[in-house]
């Protein structure tokens, strides 16, 4: 049985206690909403996409340490990044969470950085949904922004 320290790395707890990019953005920024029906976690992602780049991102909602810190780390990782690169990162993150999407190995050119700390979540399968929630919501936001 994996221990709590595998799940709750220090950097995760840090993002949980001091979440980055909290807040909302006004339209024309897009807003995407995600929730985990199982545990009631809710997340809102606000995206400002300018010339193919995520120029600003804000996160609202509430949930457990894993979903909130994953959202916070995600926001830090994608802010200022080109959409193409962010899509690759989403894919790479889900791959790390062992979520298969039938495509081949993900593009590893985008470094995971701090996100690597979430790797331990894989040992706690019920928490994978928590970690991925923000990322699915981000993907939905990108769809909205490009629509």
């Amino acid at each position: 049985m994996p221990g709590l320290e595998d799940l709750y790395r220090e950097i995760i707890l840090d993002h949980y206690k001091s979440p980055r990019n909290r807040g909302t953005l006004e339209p024309p920024a897009v807003r995407a909403e995600g929730h985990n029906p199982l545990c009631g976690d809710e997340i809102e992602v606000f995206l400002d996409v300018q010339d193919g780049v995520i120029s600003d991102i804000k996160i609202s909602g509430q949930g457990c340490s894993i979903s909130q810190s994953s959202a916070s780390m995600m926001s830090a990782a994608v802010k200022g990044k080109p959409v193409e690169q962010v899509r690759a990162l989403i894919q790479r993150f889900k791959h790390m969470m062992s979520i298969e999407d039938e495509t081949s190995e993900p593009d590893t050119s985008t470094p995971l950085g701090d996100l690597e700390a979430l790797q331990g979540v894989v040992k706690f399968p019920v928490r994978i949904k928590c970690a991925v929630l923000a990322w699915n919501t981000l993907a939905e936001g990108l769809e909205l922004a490009s629509a």
């Binding site: 709590l4 709750y8 545990c39 009631g40 509430q62 928590c130």
Partner: protein, 410 residues
């Protein structure tokens, strides 16, 4: 009370499981209960020696299986003091039982503008089916509010029930543990000409049930929460209502005749039991009813009252203002199910730490989102106790909570 409840633990093999070297502290019985050997053995032995289809074939093996199946129905009927065994309909779970009421009685009786009364403490199973029908038909749903200590607020009930066709409510909240005054609520419903539908999922496993004393019209509950198997639920209905409402699912067993241009229905209870039934599960349920009856439902209630008292005291004295227990702290108004907030640690994180101690609780919305919104929470931690739990498991819960507090408040 002369029964030694801690010796009952030996009847439940799962409770002897160790995970990671730690004994199991199973505090999720409001979700689903563990099963005693009496139930497991009844099912195993049936599968090994007696399995056969019921109510169809006539050979000795099938006749015997039918006797066991119908015997389970009779046991359930006496367990809830139903006037007739044929008023007991087996379903797949309580959710199907409630949907059955909505889709048969509701479809036949509700039209635009008709009023359905629910309460703010209902489980989704007693909300969503009504919402589906209400949306189709244009019915109005009214909600009985709660007091600040999690009881039904009946101060305005006559206004809410006036003109209502049905009052459907839980006998005990699966989140707050609140025990509702079922008999009084049935009388209120009838006074206003409404039928009374009782969701007994949380009450039937934990205390005496008497549908005649309640004067209820329908009662739904689940086998798996009362030490019985999964895969079977129960709907009891007043004979006259069951006779007059249309059938639910169509198929074998529920018909008297089928022609190319239509069908006629079988007698009760067949009318509501389409297709091959949960046969082994009914046998297991019969054994569960025997098991609970032998202990005595009043003894079980007594034991859980003691546990609830102990738990309330232990949690509040150890954690003071760090814990917020939702619902009433009057032990006569509640069962041994506790939903709470702990410090500012998210319930999911609390349950994760508790799991390291092999303390099994549920974190989430407990299928009662409208109530969660009222509590202002997205989720709570819920520890729910049953006949096999002990005060030392309350202590184990407290110890594990202490650890969770330490871990998240560095």
């Amino acid at each position: 009370m002369t029964l030694n409840f801690s010796s009952l633990r030996a009847d439940f093999p799962v409770l002897a499981e160790h995970i990671n070297g730690k004994p199991l502290v199973y505090l999720d019985s409001a979700n689903s209960s563990q099963k005693p050997n009496a139930v497991i053995d009844a099912m195993t032995s049936f599968l090994q020696h007696s399995y056969a289809p019921t109510n169809r074939s006539a050979y000795t093996l099938a006749a015997h299986a039918t006797d066991l199946y119908e015997g389970a129905r009779s046991k359930v009927a006496s367990f809830i003091n139903a006037p007739h065994a044929h008023e007991v309909v087996f379903t797949k779970n309580a959710t199907e039982a409630l949907n059955l009421v909505v889709r048969t009685w509701g479809s036949a009786n509700l039209s635009a503008g008709d009023v359905i009364v629910l309460t703010h403490m209902e489980h989704h199973a007693n909300i969503v089916p009504w919402q589906m029908l209400a949306a189709e038909r244009g019915c109005e749903i009214r909600w009985v509010p709660l007091t600040s200590d999690g009881l039904l607020d009946l101060s305005n009930i006559d206004v809410l029930l006036s003109g209502a066709s049905v009052f459907s409510f839980t006998a005990m909240s699966n989140v707050l543990g609140t025990i509702n005054p079922v008999k009084e609520l049935c009388a209120l419903a009838h006074k206003h000409g409404a039928i009374a539908v009782v969701d007994g999922c949380q009450s039937v496993p934990h205390m005496m049930t008497d549908v005649q004393d309640f004067d209820a019209d329908f009662l739904a509950f689940s086998s798996h929460k009362m030490v019985g198997p999964s895969g079977i639920g129960i709907l009891w209905g007043r004979e006259s209502l069951l006779e007059e409402i249309p059938p639910f699912l169509g198929g074998g067993n529920m018909i008297a005749d089928v022609k190319l241009d239509g069908f006629t229905c079988a007698e009760l209870p067949g009318k509501f039991e389409a297709g091959t039934q949960p046969i082994t599960e009914a046998v297991g349920l019969g054994a569960a009813v025997d098991y609970l009856s032998a202990i005595g439902m009043n003894n079980i209630r007594e034991h859980e009252r003691d546990l609830a008292q102990y738990a309330l005291h232990a949690l509040t004295s150890r954690f003071g203002r760090d814990i917020v227990i939702h619902g009433s702290n009057d032990i006569n108004q509640r069962g041994a199910t506790f939903s709470f907030a702990f410090k500012d640690v998210h319930p999911h994180d609390v349950s994760q730490v508790l799991d390291q101690h092999n303390v099994c609780v549920r974190a989430g919305h407990h299928c009662a989102k409208p109530l969660m919104r009222l509590l202002g929470a997205n989720a709570t931690v819920r520890a729910s106790f049953y006949l096999y739990n002990t005060t030392s498991e309350v202590d184990a819960l407290c110890d594990a909570l202490e650890d969770a507090g330490d871990f998240f408040t560095l």
